[in-house]
């Protein structure tokens, strides 16, 4: 599962990407570089309006870049129409609001939607849908109507629908932002499983706890890249974190509060486990 940058071509190979909304004065994304390799989990963070969602749409081949030196998604050129259409098959995009992603009147039909669009034979769709329902624990809900589902169930259905189409990489745009704690845990567990299976994931989030576990973090500031590197490096730079309007993971906040009480820790912990180790409660 270790990234092998030198052997396989990256799943996303983006350089000098620009995007501007019609009628806008400034670029929503400017001169952005991004490389994502097989098996990587890359978190993208940034304040509202920093261009995170725009990036998700561009990566999924759902918007046309204004310009780029090169913009490849799974080998497809995002600068041309055919490339974007091809990218939509390989790149799965999950959006924030589960309600606005469910098309069909019941769970199983919604999971089938992408495969129906790709004109798979009915028997193959049926097998794949069964597989997805089992994987996301939705078997008992297969005939359930969307408005009878909880937030977490809706988002899991949407996720099942996204990866029912075999994907090479996933882009998740704040998938837990509109969920209650139970729903958030359900979705995070599903994401963790996909990561463990080696699926590359670009995870857009405002939750620093969710970003803390990423292989790499990219921070956006008004459409430009303000930081790219490991999570520890970002959160260690207090001034940058403040400027970007971010925060610290809960464990980091706790460590800082302890430091104010005179119990400073050598390294800033990013997860609760790290915090417990740093405090000597665990090894």
């Amino acid at each position: 599962m270790s990234p092998s940058p030198d052997e396989t071509p990256p799943l996303f190979d983006i350089s000098g990407l620009h995007y501007r909304y019609a009628g806008a004065q400034a670029d929503a994304l400017a001169d952005l570089d991004l490389k994502v390799h097989e098996g990587e989990f890359v978190a993208v963070v940034g304040a509202n309006g920093s261009g995170k969602s725009t990036l998700a749409r561009l990566l999924g081949g759902l918007e046309k870049p204004a310009a780029a030196r090169h913009a490849l998604a799974c080998g497809h050129d995002l600068l041309v129409e055919d490339g974007r259409m091809a990218a939509r098959r390989d790149v799965g995009v999950l959006f924030q609001n589960p309600e606005n992603q469910l098309v069909a009147q019941c769970v199983e039909d919604d999971v089938a939607f992408g495969l129906e669009n790709l004109a798979w034979p009915a028997a193959d769709i049926g097998r794949r849908v069964d597989e997805m329902l089992a994987r996301f624990g939705l078997e008992d809900l297969r005939r359930r109507e969307p408005h009878m589902l909880s937030g977490g169930q809706k988002q899991r259905t949407a996720l099942a629908g996204v990866i029912a189409v075999p994907r090479r990489v996933l882009v998740l745009d704040e998938p837990t932002a509109m969920l209650d704690p139970v729903g958030r845990d359900e979705v995070l567990r599903a994401v963790r499983e996909m990561r463990d299976e080696g699926l590359a994931i670009v995870y857009i989030t405002q939750e620093m706890d969710e970003a803390a576990g990423a292989d790499r973090v990219v921070a956006l500031e008004r459409g430009t890249q303000a930081y790219a590197g490991d999570a520890g490096g970002l959160f260690a730079d207090a001034a940058l974190v403040r400027r970007l309007g971010l925060g610290l993971p809960a464990a980091g906040e706790l460590a800082l509060a302890l430091a104010e009480q005179g119990r400073g820790l050598r390294d800033l912990p990013l997860t609760m486990d790290e915090l417990l180790v740093a405090l000597g409660y665990a090894t």
Partner: protein, 260 residues
């Protein structure tokens, strides 16, 4: 909150398993026959067929009542209008009201006809999920594609519209509560004022709906939807002998009703 149109009762009766196209054709033909035929004998045949269909559907009577209730006033109005205004030799007169046997007969006939029609229609919608209904309609409308009518896209539109009715009802409720919390009163005033008080409700509902539509379109594209492209279905429509039998039975019933 529950949408009352096209309500479906999840079941596994013979009627549930029939192809929606066969059911649509049979019910439409029966509806036409109901309106063409104007004798009690014919009506009795169709009513018997409707009751049989109800028994076969395995749907509890209360569900039919729920579908029927909103139309009750229509039946009542039909009855009263016929009794009061029908021609014939009056056996009782009071002011402008003249009751005649002919009028009573006509009123009973027309109301009964309406009841049978609602019953037949309810059997269709209660035993067929709306998605299967729209699929059936899209298939039956296929000849229209020669005239460049995008029937499959229309069917998907209807499906999505039905899917979002409960969502929009919840949204409407939220907006009305928000307006009420700010002092709006939707119950008082004349028709004009009440209509006007709905504007601040409908405007945000429309704005939100357009935003939803944008996001939904994006999510559909992300799942490789392309208008006009060939699609397959998880549950393709499959007609069998039972469906042929239904059509034959419907033809026999209709003919019987027309001939008696």
């Amino acid at each position: 909150m529950k949408a009352t149109i096209a309500q479906y009762y999840a079941g596994d009766s013979l009627l549930h398993r029939l192809d929606p196209r066969a059911k649509l054709v049979a019910v439409s033909a029966l509806a036409v026959a109901l309106f063409v035929r104007d004798s009690f004998a014919g009506l009795a045949v169709y009513a018997a067929a409707a009751v049989l269909a109800y028994l076969l559907s395995g749907v509890p009577l209360v569900w039919f009542w729920r579908a029927f209730r909103p139309l009750l006033w229509l039946v009542a109005l039909t009855f009263v209008a016929q009794v009061v205004f029908a021609p014939g030799e009056p056996f009782f007169s009071f002011g402008f009201i003249h009751l005649s046997w002919r009028g009573l007969e006509l009123a009973a006939f027309l109301s009964l006809r309406l009841v049978v029609l609602v019953l037949v229609g309810s059997v269709l919608t209660l035993t067929t999920p709306s998605m299967a209904l729209t699929d059936g309609l899209a298939w039956l409308g296929r000849p229209l594609r020669r005239l460049r009518v995008p029937t499959d896209e229309l069917a998907l539109m209807v499906t999505i519209a039905l899917r979002f009715i409960p969502t929009l009802l919840v949204e409407l409720d939220t907006i009305m509560r928000a307006q009420r919390a700010r002092g709006a009163d939707f119950r008082r005033g004349g028709l004009r004022e009440r209509t006007r008080s709905l504007v601040p409700v409908l405007v945000p509902l429309f704005v939100l709906s357009f935003r939803r539509a944008d996001e939904l379109a994006l999510a559909m594209e992300a799942r490789c939807y392309r208008p006009g492209a060939v699609r397959t279905r998880l549950h393709p429509l499959r007609a069998g002998w039972a469906d042929a039998a239904l059509l034959v039975a419907a033809a026999i019933v209709i003919a019987a009703g027309l001939l008696v």
